[in-house]
Structure formats: C-alpha cells, structure tokens
Symmetry: C3
Subunit: 470 residues, 3 copies
C-alpha cells in the first residue's frame, strides 16, 4: 500500500523531511522575528500611551477601546480557523491528525506573515515606516489564513508540510495584494470576505491541485474513506463553523448597526440553507436517507454567500433567499448527475483536478455567488432604505469616493469578484509550477510521509478498521 | 434486526421519505421567506438609520448598541443549542448522526418560525404591521428552539425527520402563546426560562411520547446502547451546556446588574450541583464508581432550576442551596428504587412513556422546581435587599403593574409555572394525536429510516461494535 | 491486570469509596453553603442597588459595568478550565472519563473554596466582615482552580477522587496565601499567572507525585497508552487551550490597553511556539514524522511563558521571541537525550517522580521562565516606551508603591517567582505526607477504583482495543 507512489515520487529521500521541515520552520520563524522587530508596533489602543491618548481625544471610557467592540468576534473567528477548519478536515480516516495538525501549522505561520503583508498594504505609517496592529489586525490576519486553509482543503493528503508552508507563504502574499486592489483601489465592501477569502482561496487551491494532478492518485482512494467517529469529529468542525459564522461576517463590519446587521443576516441565511440542503440531499438518496457530507458542506455555503452582503440592508427575507439557493446549489454540486458530469467528474476527468474536501462547492462557487449578490444588493441600495447618512456610512462614500453612486459601486463589486478569481487561478498555477520546480530539491515523498504520520497508531488502527484494508 | 418494526409500522413505504421530507423542507422554507418578506424588518439598532437614530436620541457611542450587551451571550447560547443539545444526544451508538443532524434541522427551522411567532406576540408594531428583530430577538428564537429540542430528547430515535418538524412547528407555536401569557399577561419574570423553556419543553415531549407509546419499542433496546467514544462525545455536549449556562440565564436579563447577577448565581448553582450529583451517584453504585449519565444530567439540573431566580437577589449561598438539592433530586430521579418505581419505571410501565434522554429528570422536574423557587424568592423580595429602585427595576413594576406587591408577584410566578405545565401536557397530547392522525398519509416507517441513516457506515460499524450485534 | 496494586494498596476496602466520596462531597458542600451564607455577598456592580450606585457615581451607562469588560474573557477561561484541561487529560485510553470527570469535580469544588479563600485575602470588607464577588472574582476563582488542575495533571490515574479533593482543598488554600504574598505584599504584576498559577501548580503537583512515588507504578504503563481517537479528543483540549489563551492572559488585565495588549502578545507568542515545536519534534523523529504529544504540549508553553509579561510593553517581536524559545525548550524537555536524562528520566529514576501529563515541561518550566521574563521586561521598562502615566498605570505604582522604580519592580518580580516555587514544593511535600498519613483511614484502593470506572465499557472496549491487552 502506498508503493504505487514510489514511482511517481522518484527515489525515496526519507531523511529529507527531517531536514527540510525543521529548517523551514526555524528560518522562517527567525525571519518573522526580525521583520516584526523592524516593522510591527502596538497601535494606539493597545499601547501603554492609551491613557494619555484617551484624555487628549476626550474618550470618556475604556469601553470605547476597539478591543471591546471586536474581541468576542475575534475569539469566535479564531475558533473557526483552528477548530472549524481543522476538524472539518478530520473526516479522512488516515489523515485526522494530518488535517488538524497541518491546519495548525499553516495558520500559525500564516497569521504572522499576514500581519506583515496586510500591514504593508493597509497600516504602514509613512512617517515612521512602522505597521501598527490591534485587535482588527488580528482578525484580518486570521481571515488571511482562512484563504490558505481553504486552498489546503483542495490539497489535503497530497502535499507535504513544507509544501503547505510554501502554499501559505504565497497564498498570504497574493491575498494581501488582491485585498489591496479590491478593498482599497476598487473601494469594494467585503466584510465577510466572499470575494477576498472564499472565492480567492477556493480557486487558488483548485489551480494548484490542477498543476499537481497525477493520474495514479486514483489509487489512493482506499485511503480517502471516512469512518463513523471521524465523521463525528468532522461534524464538530462543521458545527463550530456554522455557529460562529455570524461572528465571521460581523467581525470587521462597522461598529454599531453594521456589526449588528451582519450577524442577523448571516444567522438567517445559515438557517435557511440547512433546510434546502436537507431537502436536496434526501431527494437524491435511495430511501431518502441523508448524507452528512452534503449537510456539512451545504449548510456552510449560506454563510459564505452572505460574506459580502451581510452588512448591507439585504433585509431578513433577502438573507433567507440567499441561504435557500445556496443550500440547493451546493448540494447539487455534489450529486446531480448532470452537475456531477459537468462539475465534479468534469473537474477530475477533463480538468484533471482532485478536490479532496469539496472546496469548489463549499467555497469557490458560493464565494463567487456571494460576490455577485453583493454587487446586486449594492447596485440597488437607495437613500430610502439606508437613509442619507446610512448610505454614506455603509458604503464609506467618503474622500475620493464621495461622489460614487450605488450603480458604480455595484459594478466595482462585480469587478472585484473577477479580480479575486483571476488572482486565485493565475496565482495558483504559478505557485503549483513553483512547487513542481523545487520538487526534487526540498520536497520529500509526500504520501509516504503522510503514511508515517499515522503509523504510530497503525497496530490499533488496523484492528479497528480492518474491513477497509486492502 | 429492525424487522419487528415492520408490523408496527404497517406496509413499508420506503419512498415516502424521499418525497415527504424534501417537500416539507422546501415548502416550509418558502413559506418562511414569504412571511419574512411581509412581516420582518431590522430593528432600529440594526438598521442603517441607526447613525441618525443615535444622534436624535443623544446616544454617545456605538457601544451602547444592544449588540454589544448581548452578542457574547448570544453566541454562547447558540453553541448550547447546536453543540450542547446536539452532542448530548449522541450517546446512542446508532443515532449519533441522527441526534446531531436532526437537532440541527429542528433548530434551523424552529428559529425562523420562532422569530415570526414571538414577533407577532411581542414585537409587532401596530402602526406598520411589521415585526422588528435585533440581537435579543435572535436569542429569544434560540430559546424557543430549546423548548422543542428538549421535547425531541424524549422522542429521540422514535420519530422521523418530518415528525420532528411537525413537533417543532407546533412546539414553537405553543411556546409563543404560553410565553405571552406568562411573561406579558401574568407579568412573570423568567430570564433563564425555567418555566417557559424547560418545564414546558419537558412536559410537551413527555406527553407526545405518551401518545406515541408502542409496547414493542422495548425490543429496540439493543439499539439504545452507548459506547465509550459516543459517551465522550456526549460529555462534550454536557460540558458546553454546563459551561455556557451562565450565558443562557443572563442572555436576556436586564442590562447591568441583572446580567451580572444572573451569571454569578448560575455559576454557583452549577458548581454546587456537581458535588451532590457525584455524591449520590457514587453512593448508589457498587464499589462507588461513578455513572457518567448521572453526572451529565444532574450537573445540568442546577442550571435549569436557576432559570427563573438567576436575576433575583437570591444571594450566593441561596444559589448554592438550589444547586445542592437539584443535584440530589436529579440523580435520585435516575436511581433510587422508590423513585425508579414511582418515576422512571412508573413512567414506562403505567404511564406508558419512554423517555430516551431522561428529559423528565433533566428538564421537566428541575424546570418545575425552578419556577416555584422563583415564586418563593420573588415573594420574599424586599426593598431592604433590592433597594427601592432596584426592586422596581428587577421586577419591572412599571405601567399597569406599578402597584403590584412582591407577594402578588410570587403568586403570579407560581401560576405561570402551572400554565407552562398545562401547555406542555395538553399541547403535547394534541400534537401527539395529530401525529397519529397524519401517520398513514405523510409519515414513512420511522425506525427503518433511522436504520438506513447509519447503514452507510455499517460495514465498519459492525466490525467495531460486533459485541452488541444480535 | 491491576492485581499488582493489591499488595501496595494493602487490604482491599472496596466499600470505602462508597462512603468516603459521598461523605466528603456532601459535608464539604454543606460547609461551603454555611461559609457563603456568612461571608459572600454580591459586589456593587452585581447588586440590585447598582441602579442607585450608578446615579451616585455619575456612571453614564450600564455598559460601564465590569461585566461587559470581562464576561467574554471569563467564558473563554471557563472553557479552558473544563474542556481544555479536561480533554487534555483524555489521552490515556483507560482514563478518558476519569480525566474529564475528576477534572470536573476538582474544578467545581475548587472554585467555591477559591471564592472564599481569595475573598478573605483580597476582598474582605473590614467594616462589614463580608466578601463581595463579581465577574472578576469568578475569573480569579477559575484561575485558582487551574493551579490544582495542573497539579492533578502530574497525579492523573494515581490518586482517588477523595484524594483529588484533598489536593484541591490545600492547593487552593496555598494558592490564596501565595497569591497574597506575591501580588499584594511584593506588589508583583502577574495577569496571566505564570508565577502564581503555572509555576506554583506545576511544582505543587510534582512534589506530591514525589512523596506518593511507588516503584511498582512502572507496571501500570500498559494502562497508560493512548489510542487514535483518545488523542483526537486530547487535540480538542489542546486547541481550546491554545485558542483561548489570549483570553486567559487578558481576562484580569487592566481595562483598555492592558487587556488589548495582553491578548495581542499572547496570540503572537502562541503562533511562534507552534513553528519551533514542529521543527524540533520533526528533527527528533525517525523519518521526520511529528509526535502530536510534542505539538500539544509545546504549543501551549508559549502561552504559559507570556503569563506575566503579556500586559507589559514586551513588543510584538518580543512576544515572538518568547514563543520561539518556549517551543524549543518544551519539546527538548520531552525528547533530547541529554535533557531526558537530566529531566524526565532523572525525575523518574533519581527524584522518583512520575509526571503523567508532562506537567514539568508544560507548566512548571514555562511558568518559571515566564516569571523571570516578566522580571526582565519590568526591569527594562521606561517612560519612553510606556509614557509617564502609562508606566504608573501598567505597574500600578500608586499609594505606598508610588516611589518604586522599575529595577526594584523587576527584582520583586523575580522574588515572586521564587516564592511561587517554594510554596509549590514545600506545600506539595506537606500535602503529599498528609495524604500518606490519612491513607489507611479514608482512602480506598486507587487504581482498583479507576479500573472499575471504565469496566462498564470493557466488553466493548476490549473488542476494540484488544491489541494492547496483556
């Protein structure tokens, strides 16, 4: 088992990973320390000078510190990144630890690099040359990691830890550039990141998967089964993502009504997508039983698709409609023959992409939809619905964008979605090719490694799961 | 296995569920969209007009938005509903997915219907005919679902998904009416819902279980075992309920000291109930070993019983006393022979009720106690303890209730508890009879379905759990 | 199996635990009720008089209530105590329930006793003779339990439930005295408790383990294995500790910038320690595979070591450096031969200590480091970095300490660390000796009991885990 990999992977270099992974971790972490030393400082709300700053700006209370507006949402997002994404990936029976553990490694490196990259683009003080960070910076760093973790979902079990880190390094970099273009240059609104996180992350991962495609990966299907308790762990991941999605979409929305509305809209869209996901899943199965994989993925699609428009006045029934269609579309992506042929099978047979975690149906397509839904909702915004000040406040029509109309805003939102797809696809292809280039140099035999990961438990695992052993 | 059910369930209609469940999900979700479109709008704190509203009402800061008072508690309650209740139901070895999955479906539908039902009774603006929702509305909707989820705990493994949805539809409706009578007409206080949630939900489920009782359900006992890891998942459910119960009882309490005090009281009652639950469980077992089922249920009883009085000045030692007795009573409910005979065995043998999850001892009785404890604490409230303004503030003695005395309040609290029991029992019987009436029409063979639910994993599951296979 | 214990444990007294555990639980809980009745009252922010208090003190809004500053962090800490510490202890395949369940019992008793002990030392009103409690008191009580739970980590599977409670009773008492000396008399700062919680708790547990050492405990190694799913549960514990550590270190820090900065620093140190832990773990293993036990423990060490200095202006890169070295040191503690010999093997062979959960490398050493890092950071604090007011505010140089310099503060921080070690070691030895003295009286055969704990599931468990059966 796993020997079929030897040919593909060339001569075994088992010792490589003992050198390459520690070397990359230590050197990159040292680089982070040096770069943080040069660039990163506390912002005025987390600096000890805050007590003086407060008095000078007539801030009446410590509760006005941004920490109290955003910290509860931050912790929820943090749980989504580490438990949600992590345990969502435990369903493969031989990669439970790999799923959780590499998720942990990717996010821990990614958030440091994200603080730097996003800081350079968004928070660099030209006078001092320093980046200042606060609670909003931490949330954005977690968001930025989410992009790479989504990509990892399409690559699960196929790449090594060092390759994960390479994918993350470039993923975070591309994310920061793409985010700068979409949010700053195009002045799009995207509080929950339908475009910048999900659409980008999904296509980035799929493009890498396409470049790294190897036909004999089919033979690994015997390794890509799931077991009862693995699925229950995956359900923990799903539930934490589902429950905390209102925090995800509201975490960096505007103070006050912005955060409030984003939470309500996401809550409603998620509830709605559960019912349609159950309906379509039941309709598709013999005897109407439910497939937990459909439920897990489709229920989350509602949250993804609300990412951009959650802070808009989409209205409660609008949120339900978004959830309604996302549940349907996401499950269809998995099962209907016509879609299977054109999407999943098409992906694997013609486009030569393997999508381990179903990233296409969970992130890429709902993110894409979310971007365009946001464009439509923005284009139909009016002073009647938002109020004169509310409209300016919600879309931040200030400074150089003071004269932008809602129609223009809608067009830019749509353009932003296209930018995120382009960045995902082109970036993913380039990163995939880079991974192939450096392959012989630093990368060890991948699946071999992953097999060793679980060997420790194999004596027990085999007795438990012998039914599936070849 | 499971064939014994065929006779009971009449001719097999395996295709039914493929039609009925999707049809109900889609139609009801469409109905929700239409009703939300007609009735539901953002409240002033989540509407984009908030920026104008703030200035008009001289609100100095965005942090005054109710979102920041309640959002952390809301997320904790949300976790209790989906992870807490969900995983508490995973202990049945063949219904782990059923427990979590149907819990998910019930809550997702229930919260939408609850926003409408509670809105019509509590938040309908007569001028516009619209319901406005905000964060407090979402918490109340989650609470309303809790009532139906508690009822589901008594029906776990016995009803189909469509029946679940029917139970939820009527459960939420009854809840909203009962809540209106208790909180508005009787002007009771019940921040943590001992009466309106736990007492109602418990008796509602038990009454339905009584109507649906079938003797050959005994034969399913081989399916109602638990396994080591299932129990560990159930322990996750228990712990999240236990830890977040202070948020449950304080989520919709008054701003300021009300929320603060509710959290402290619940925290103390829960801690106290752990020690007595351990004591009684150990006392009852051979060699003093502990039964995790006792611990799981009894420790939660302390939180349930504090639901009404958590926001009162029950004093810290009063909270400990409540927890002390609840731990004892709840464990006794499970084990002492005299109680077994009169309660559990009595329930099954004479009242013909099967109570899968022990809802009677975990919710119904502690909820009942909580209601009467609240009545007593209210009746003994005094200006010396609460302060003149504090008393008015805590019991909301304003408007038409400005002249109500604490003794009267206590009497009304007790009356409210009786109302909740009556609604639970009568409503449950009617809903149970309705389920029987529509049985042949829309409901598919239940356990057959549930069996199929896990068949997917059976090849593996059977190798794991072969000891218990018949 | 387990019979080897009979000799050591003397004549079997199987009925003891049926008497001793319930008796201790009931009597101690009754004592808590009486003591709470005499001493504990709501503080002014959780009392119904708050509405009057607010007006008298010109507090403009309910949001100024300390509840809203600290409740989100409190709930996170609560999750760490019950799920984090609890599930971290599930990795032993036969003690999953014991780990979670006794953790639950210890913490539930400990937090009540902690409210009293900490209240007597910190919050006793000399005029009324009452202790007032609020949300900060609850957080401190949870922290105080953490000390005893850390000690329990070194004793897991070796002591009975009653012994757990005895260890907790004295542990909380010692904690309160030690905390009073360090925080009040020496005027140290220790928001995240590197000194008072982790260093004290670690050495307290190790000292007890040393006194209770018995050579034939070696034979229990067959019981101290782990299985795949147990490890995945332990990973849940680890992740919740890791994710919520920023809340732990910021929960009782100063309002405003203090809490904000503590969260940022901890977040960064934790991320950094993941990379070095992965590096060293991979370097040490054949073929570079990762050992999840290293990852689990080492990644947390970064949070422990930031406990004291998290609220200081250690700067973001300073936090990364702390995490960097903690990850390395903690993994080294587990694996490098030279360290194994001098630390772990040395501990077991020469010092005769068995450290089930690796408390030395996870809490004691990182806590010790954290204390000294705090001393160094304090000694190098300057008005340039903190601002004049910020320096006074951060180190609370007021009242009798108004003239203390930063150098002196650093020296006192170092002295505080030594006090915590001394209390841990001396207290642990005394408590261990006390446990030996009362052994014959109240303590039942320990492991025998623990074996029974899981016997309920043995029929199934044995079929699952037969590979490891002797």
């Amino acid at each position: 088992m796993g020997n079929c990999w030897a040919t593909y992977l060339g001569p075994q270099k088992n010792t490589n990973v003992r050198v390459s992974l520690p070397a990359v971790c230590i050197i990159w972490q040292l680089a982070m320390i040096v770069l943080f030393g040069i660039f990163i400082r506390y912002d005025e709300e987390s600096d000890a000078h805050w007590i003086e700053h407060r008095r000078q700006h007539n801030i009446t209370s410590d509760i006005e510190n941004d920490f109290y507006f955003r910290y509860p949402s931050f912790q929820d997002v943090h749980v989504m990144i580490f438990v949600g994404f992590g345990f969502l990936m435990t369903f493969l029976k031989r990669y439970s630890f790999g799923g959780v553990g590499f998720n942990f490694l990717i996010a821990s490196f990614g958030l440091q690099w994200a603080l730097l990259m996003q800081g350079w683009f968004h928070a660099l003080d030209p006078a001092t040359g320093k980046i200042t960070i606060g609670i909003e910076g931490l949330i954005n760093a977690d968001f930025c990691c989410a992009g790479s973790l989504i990509a990892y979902g399409a690559l699960l079990g196929k790449i090594s830890p060092v390759q994960c880190l390479v994918v993350t390094l470039f993923g975070v970099t591309l994310f920061a550039v793409e985010e700068y273009i979409i949010l700053d240059l195009l002045h799009c609104r995207d509080a929950g990141g339908s475009m910048v996180i999900h659409c980008f992350g999904g296509y980035y991962g799929l493009a890498i998967s396409w470049v790294l495609y190897r036909p004999n990966l089919h033979q690994s299907k015997q390794l890509i089964g799931s077991v009862y308790h693995s699925d229950l762990f995956a359900m923990i991941g799903t539930l934490f993502l589902w429950m905390f999605w209102p925090s995800f979409n509201s975490a960096i929305a505007d103070h006050g009504d912005g955060q409030h509305r984003a939470a309500i809209n996401t809550y409603l869209a998620l509830a709605s997508s559960v019912l349609t996901a159950v309906a379509i899943s039941s309709l598709s199965q013999k005897k109407g039983k439910l497939d937990m994989v459909h439920i897990q993925n489709a229920t989350l699609a509602g949250g993804v698709a609300m990412g951009t428009s959650a802070e808009f006045m989409i209205s409660p029934y609008g949120s339900l409609i978004v959830g309604f269609f996302c549940g349907i579309i996401s499950v269809f992506g998995y099962l209907m023959i016509v879609f299977l042929y054109f999407v999943s099978a098409f992906l694997e047979k013609y486009l030569k992409i393997q999508d381990t975690c179903g990233v296409h149906n969970l992130h890429a397509v709902p993110g894409l939809l979310g971007g365009f839904i946001g464009a439509i909702v923005a284009a139909f915004a009016s002073e009647g619905v938002y109020g004169k000040e509310g409209l300016i406040n919600t879309f931040n029509f200030e400074g150089e964008f003071a004269n932008r109309g809602v129609g223009t805003q809608g067009a830019f939102q749509a353009a932003g979605t296209c930018v995120s797809i382009a960045f995902g696809l082109v970036g993913g292809i380039l990163v995939g090719m880079f991974l192939l280039c450096i392959y012989e140099e630093i990368i060890h035999p991948v699946l071999e490694y992953n097999n060793h990961m679980v060997l420790k438990h194999q004596d027990i695992a085999e007795s438990n799961f012998s039914v599936e052993q070849s």
